[in-house]
């Protein structure tokens, strides 16, 4: 789908931030200040070219949906800038933003939830026209509604115009939702997982429709998804997101043929392949998606990365994960003896200097012995590349890690990737 030779910039996003404060304590709840924040979008910059399809791809919690909504001002950015044809949208009051939404529309994931169940299609489609005062008079409105219904293949129009969403199949509902988005003649449509709730046999039809509409109406799409396979087919460029950041951005060809970030590489290998002869060997990242309220230091992906090294941001929590993994693999007996040596691991400080307390009544030297043993048994574990010193102190072991570097998007020979492997000297 590479028709994107157009280089005119439609939107310019610079250092965009959307932080949600958690207000866990009484004080932060009363004052609205302090406390922890989830950085759903944490400093994202990119340009959106006219007529292109940009994929925002990531797992749940990566911030892709929030970023998509922030482009439209559906969530308030807490920092940074979003410019539409040079005009700043971030920070505009709702009243000033509303007229702009004519040009910026959205298609939501769940077509069953995004249409009013008691509103016939023609009414639902007429609303945007009336709100933005795009037509004069009922006859013109009706004509426009019919034209758009025809455009999304809800034809014969007479049969569909009066229907309620409940009378439509999932695919038809999504067609109606798309019709409502394009009826105002937008420049940009943000489609948030538009096909993920639909059957495989229907997905292709909806994607085909979107491609067709793009060609006819000169639309620009932001396609938010966790499904790399459809992104590969549908997008001109792809941005891979992890914990609120873009970790890799490039053309679809660059991303899929020569992925640079270890996270992108893992994602691509994890896609189930229906043709068993083409299936790739799996190399899954270990561990879990981290807590977004207290993300890992340095590169957010380092605890799961097989290529991580010294400056990736190692810290106490990573050591805890290594111990836990060891106890998953080891038998009952090893677990019981070793667990007793180690104290409470839940309260580790988020710094590069960690203090691992010894278990009650246990000697710090024994704990140090355990950690040395763990290291000796698996010296290739990436974590040890970041450990500078293990030192027994009174009541526990002090671990000094190499301070981490927070990666930004670096140039590579393909896509730009936020990975220290590509940091220029």
């Amino acid at each position: 789908m590479t028709t994107a030779t157009a280089t005119k910039t439609l939107m310019e996003i610079r250092d965009l931030q959307v932080h949600f404060s958690l207000h866990e304590s009484f004080k932060s709840r009363v004052t609205g200040r302090g406390g922890r924040a989830v950085k759903a979008v944490d400093g994202v910059s990119f340009d959106l070219h006219e007529g292109e399809v940009l994929g925002l791809v990531g797992e749940s919690g990566s911030g892709k949906t929030t970023l998509g909504r922030a482009l439209l001002g559906l969530v308030r950015p807490t920092g940074g800038s979003v410019k539409l044809r040079g005009e700043e949208l971030a920070g505009l009051p709702e009243r000033a933003l509303r007229p702009k939404r004519r040009h910026l529309q959205m298609v939501f994931q769940d077509p069953h939830a995004s249409l009013n169940p008691s509103m016939p299609l023609e009414t639902a489609l007429a609303h945007p026209l009336q709100i933005h005062k795009l037509t004069s008079g009922a006859a013109e409105t009706q004509a426009k509604v019919r034209e758009v219904l025809e455009l999304v293949n809800l034809a014969p129009v007479d049969q569909f115009a009066g229907r309620l969403p409940g009378d439509l199949s999932g695919g038809q509902k999504q067609r109606a939702a798309i019709a409502r988005a394009i009826i105002t003649g937008p420049d940009l449509v943000v489609a948030d997982e538009p096909v993920s709730m639909l059957d495989m046999s229907v997905r292709a039809k909806i994607l085909d429709l979107m491609i067709d509409l793009k060609r006819r109406l000169g639309l620009t799409y932001v396609y938010v998804t966790h499904d790399l396979a459809s992104a590969k087919f549908f997008c001109d460029r792809v941005a891979i997101m992890y914990l609120g950041r873009i970790v890799e951005i490039g053309t679809t060809q660059q991303i899929f043929e020569d992925p640079k970030h270890p996270y992108t590489q893992a994602l691509i290998r994890a896609i189930p392949e229906p043709d068993p002869d083409k299936a790739l060997p799996r190399d899954l990242p270990r561990g879990e998606v981290p807590d977004a309220a207290s993300p890992p230091l340095g590169c957010s992906f380092h605890p799961r990365c097989s290529q991580a090294f010294g400056p990736c941001g190692w810290e106490g929590r990573d050591l805890r994960a290594i111990l836990e993994q060891r106890w998953v693999n080891a038998g009952e007996e090893t677990y019981t003896t070793e667990r007793a040596l180690v104290g409470d691991l839940e309260k580790l400080e988020l710094t590069h200097e960690a203090f691992i307390p010894a278990g009650p009544g246990k000697d710090a030297g024994d704990l140090l012995g355990l950690l040395e043993k763990v290291r000796a048994e698996d010296p290739d574990e990436p974590l040890w590349r970041g450990v500078r010193e293990l030192r027994a102190e009174s009541g526990g072991v002090h671990v000094s890690f190499e301070p981490g570097i927070d990666p930004v998007l670096y140039e590579t020979d393909a896509a730009r990737a936020a990975c220290l492997l590509y940091r220029p000297e």
């Binding site: 495989m200 229906p274 998953v328």
Partner: protein
């Protein structure tokens, strides 16, 4: 060959509806062997989930059934509720789609396991129960240090693994997993698929894996049954079916799956029929690119199309087609009105 762990014989399940009976499962015969993973695929509304629940006797009130689900020589569908309850858990397990909603948020993980083991295996001591639970959790990659935490302290993928562990801790002979990875991300999904693959090697559990994703079938299943409008239209070894589908529906379903090697979008015209008045003859004929005249009039025979493979399609029984009915079916182009 050993005896099947579970055997469906001409199973029929229908729901009452104002316009007549919805025949959600309409004559399905399928065997599950011990240690085997069978994938059940098809579009929404083809009766996959109803079949999965029917196998466990979890049908809603008002559902009618005929045929047999044979487990250890007994027909599950005829058991008294009490007898059935005794089977669920230690013999027949279930893994649901939404791990977030199936764990009790007020109970620690440990309490979930203690409850299950206390009810079904009361002779197990507390210590032994804990040992069993931790061992099963280990198999799912859940660290023993987190045994006493609450469900909200785990990620979505871990919760699904805990659900699987809860089903496995009783070592059931048969497990039905209804779209166990659909709500999960690619990486977590891959992790769960790996666990399912390990399951085959390490336990003798027969697994019925319900999914709409053929990629998952190719990766995790030994055999696959393709369901359309209440019927299993094709079944056989997963590799054979995903590489050389015999039934046009299996083939079209595979073609419409979007994978990394997709270069052209493909979809199946139309939508699955309503199951109150399904089309006469082969139920797929209105959407089938290969339909012949016979398909619209006569029920297709079940044909053996290869080793351990069966397909319900006239294409493979050409010598039995009544004279004059081999011609391609002529029909009006499907109106968009019938499109999904």
């Amino acid at each position: 060959m050993s005896a099947p762990a579970l055997s469906l014989r001409d199973l029929r399940i229908w729901y009452g509806h104002e316009r007549g009976a919805v025949r959600a499962v309409d004559g399905v015969s399928l065997d599950l062997m011990p240690g085997e993973t069978v994938g059940l695929v098809g579009e929404s509304g083809c009766g996959k989930s109803t079949l999965g629940r029917g196998v466990l006797g979890l049908l809603p009130e008002g559902a009618g059934h005929a045929g047999e689900v044979v487990y250890q020589g007994r027909n599950i569908l005829e058991l008294k509720p009490k007898e059935l309850r005794a089977l669920r858990g230690p013999d027949l397990g279930m893994i649901f789609q939404e791990p977030m909603t199936r764990l009790n948020p007020l109970m620690k993980i440990s309490a979930h396991f203690e409850e299950v083991l206390k009810i079904h295996e009361p002779e197990l001591g507390k210590k032994e129960a804990r040992r069993r639970a931790l061992e099963t959790l280990r198999g799912m990659g859940i660290p023993p240090t987190r045994y006493h935490q609450y469900p909200h302290e785990f990620s979505g993928g871990m919760r699904q693994r805990i659900m699987i562990a809860l089903a496995l801790v009783l070592r059931p002979a048969v497990i039905v997993a209804d779209e166990p990875t659909t709500a999960l991300d690619v990486l977590v999904e891959a992790q769960i698929l790996r666990i399912i693959a390990d399951l085959r090697r390490n336990f003798d559990t027969a697994l019925l894996l319900i999914t709409h994703n053929l990629g998952i079938v190719a990766e995790a299943c030994d055999r696959v049954a393709v369901m359309y409008a209440g019927r299993v239209v094709e079944q056989g070894p997963a590799y054979d079916i995903t590489t050389k589908p015999a039934h046009p529906y299996s083939r079209e379903l595979l073609r419409s799956t979007i994978s990394l090697s997709t270069t052209k979008l493909h979809s199946i015209p139309g939508a699955p029929p309503n199951l109150v008045t399904p089309p006469p003859g082969c139920r797929f004929h209105p959407r089938c690119p290969d339909a012949m005249k016979v398909c619209a009039e006569h029920w297709p025979p079940t044909i053996t199309t290869g080793p351990a493979r069966r397909s319900e399609c006239w294409l493979h029984a050409s010598e039995d087609i009544p004279a004059g009915l081999e011609a391609p079916l002529e029909r009006e182009a499907l109106a968009a009105a019938e499109e999904a």
